[in-house]
Every structure is written in structure tokens, then in C-alpha cells.
């Protein structure tokens, strides 16, 4: 039981570290690399570096607001 929890923990850490390094490389190091280097094949075009986090943030905010709204509605209905 505890081993499964630790495994999930390691998985999450590894996932977040890899996303972090990919993003750091993409945003900070890649602009200084020549345009015809082969490394650019492995990374999406530059606009996505901004689009993806912003859209994820907006999606999370929407989800949060809907969740809070639903819970508040439910509690008001229960009290009434």
C-alpha cells in the first residue's frame, strides 16, 4: 500500500522535473541556438511556449470557479 503511494510520488516528481527542464530549455536556451540546428526539430514553434501555459491556467481557473459555484449552489439547496 505504502509502496504504491511512493511509486506515484516518484512518478509525479519525475514528470514535473522533465516538464520543467523541457520548458527551461525551450524558453531560455533555444533562442540562442542557430535556426538551422537539428535541435529545433524536437521543440514546438516558439508561440506555443506562451500559449500552452496560458491556456492551461485559464482552464484551471474556469474549472475552479465552476467547482466552487456548484458546491455553493448545492449547499444553498441543502439548507433551503
Amino acid at each position: 500500500m505504502e509502496l504504491a503511494d511512493r511509486a506515484v510520488g516518484f512518478l509525479l516528481t519525475f514528470l514535473s522535473l522533465s516538464i520543467f527542464t523541457y520548458y527551461t530549455f525551450w524558453v531560455i536556451i533555444l533562442p540562442f541556438v542557430d535556426g538551422d540546428h537539428f535541435v529545433h526539430k524536437y521543440f514546438l514553434p516558439q508561440e506555443y511556449a506562451i500559449l500552452i501555459p496560458v491556456s492551461a491556467g485559464v482552464a484551471i481557473l474556469c474549472f475552479l470557479c465552476i467547482f466552487i459555484g456548484l458546491v455553493m449552489l448545492k449547499s444553498k439547496k441543502k439548507r433551503a
Binding site: 533562442p31 542557430d34 448545492k74
Partner: protein, 349 residues
Amino acid sequence: MLEIKKIREIRTRPRSQQLQLLASIGFVLLQPVIVIHVPRPPPSLLPFLPLHPANLTSHHQSTTIRSLAASPATSLSCFIASASSIQIGTAAAWIVSIGGVGLRYRMDGQNKNQENKYSIIVPTYNERLNIGLIVYLIFKHLKDVDFEVIVVDDGSPDGTQDTVIQLQKVYGEDRILLRPRPKKLGLGTAYIHGMKHASGNFVVIMDADLSHHPKYLPRFISKQMETRADIVTGTRYVKGGGVHGWNLMRKLTSRGANVLAQTFLWPGVSDLTGSFRLYRKSVLEDIISSCVSKGYVFQMEMIVRASRKGYHIEEVPITFVDRVFGSSKLGGSEIVEYLKGLAYLLVTT
């Protein structure tokens, strides 16, 4: 912007000032990112970006990223200069504060073992099965310590008070005090009620449902005596601490809530919602008079207010054992209550 005093006491500043400082530091650090992604800022914005190469050099830039990156030395050196100056400034500030912290301890003779009395406040409701065990364990682990146990019972229908009266016959009425109340009136008022009858100069609060084990009490006491802290908290999120009996979702939720509270409040402790704490009595009176929330947000508010007032807080790792009988469910409404409490604390402390 980088007043050293402000950085040293940043924990005690109100939230608005903390955010101001953070925003100004972040602005300086983000200049390189702005340089890379906004090759030609509008001319009206240029005066606000002091580290932009367009401001530093006098000739006009072309818009390609390549030409900008043709002077990576400029942007990198700006980045390194700003980042390292902030790093060095902060490091110097912290070194000064650590050096100066020795002057902060008051030299009062309050820490000999014989002069301290510990009042342990245990709020109970329907804890007939657990209260005898808790009292036995407290007496077992605190053999050479002067203490008293104050049971604040909120009118339990299952006969907790009769059990306590029998315990009083065994251990003595001066060691176990029963201070009942007519009905369930809330945790904060239970603490206030218990403190009115407390005769010690330190107050320990703990849960009566065996989730807080009394074996940690000697560690709390010795930690307080070593460091002369005003408050000692038990924390589950430090090495040596933990929880037992929670499934993964519950653990993740608890950790996530703690991370959220840490980001928004900077409390100076690692576990905000834990309720196993040792307070100096004067400190507890001071804090409780300024708290207004209820439930576990009350625990958070207490420790955040203590942090803002500059009290010395220490931590001891504990293991929190979930109650075996009757699970406390974490539904959506609890989450929303927590978020509301967090927002309230963000704005008012």
C-alpha cells in the same frame, strides 16, 4: 527596493507589502524573458525596461530573434548581474539576521524544569472510550514534569464527564480538571474556556481522539527549553513526521492545501492545519483575542497571526494517526470552506 531590514522581517510584514516586494524583484528578474520574447517593445514602454538592450545601446534593432541573440552576452550579463545582486543582497540580509538573532533571546530564567508548569487542554466531545487512554499515556510520558490536564467537555451525551470524574478519583483533582460546558460551542471558545482555568505558564493543546500521541510531549518540552521558543508546533511534513491511515487522495489533498497556504501566506511553518501545539500562555492569550474564524481555518489563522506578530516558532516532527473509528470525509464543501478561509487570511493578515 532592497532595504535589508525589510527582507529580514519580511515574514512579519502584512501581505500587501510582501507582494509588493515580490513583484518588484520579479520584475527585475523577468527582464531577460521580456527581452527575448518581445524583440521590439513599443517606445512608450522602453523607459520601464531599464535592462533592455534597446535602452542600453543607442542604435536601432532589427526584429529577428537572431540579431537579438547576436548579443547574448548583453542579455546574459544583465540577467546574471540582476540575479546575482539580488541573491547577494538576500544572502547578506539573512546572514545578518541569523547573527542578530542571538540578541533576540531574552535572558530570563524561565527555563529551568522546576519552574515551568504545563496545562494540557483537551477539548472533548463523545470521547468516553479514548479519554482514559489519553490520560494514562500523558501520565506515563510526563513523569518528571509539573502539569495539569484540563478536559473541556461540550456536553457529551455518552458519559465522558462521568469517566473523567472517575479518573479524577484515581489521579487527583489537582492534576485533572474537568471544566464542562452546556453544549457544543466551538474549538476556539473551548481553548479560551480552558485557558481561564489554566494555572501553568505553558499551554499544550491536543486532540482527544488519539490522533495526537502524548509520547511527543517530552520532545515538545525539550525543544522549547533548548530554543526558548514562544510556540512549538507538531508538523507532519518534515522528515520524521507523517500521517498514518490516509489513502493517497487524502494525502495529496492535504499536501496540496499546505502548498497553497505556503504560497499565499508565507507563514514560516511547514504544517499549517495541525493542532498539536505548545504555546506560552501569554502568547496564546494575545493571539486568540485577535482571531475570528472557526474550524481548522482557526488553527491556520492562529499560526499565521503568530508569525506576523514576530513570535519565535519551532517545529517538531510528529506522526498523525487517523482515527480508527468513524472516518472524517473530505467533501467539496470542506474544500470551499478552506479556500474561503485562505482568501480571508490573505487579505487580512
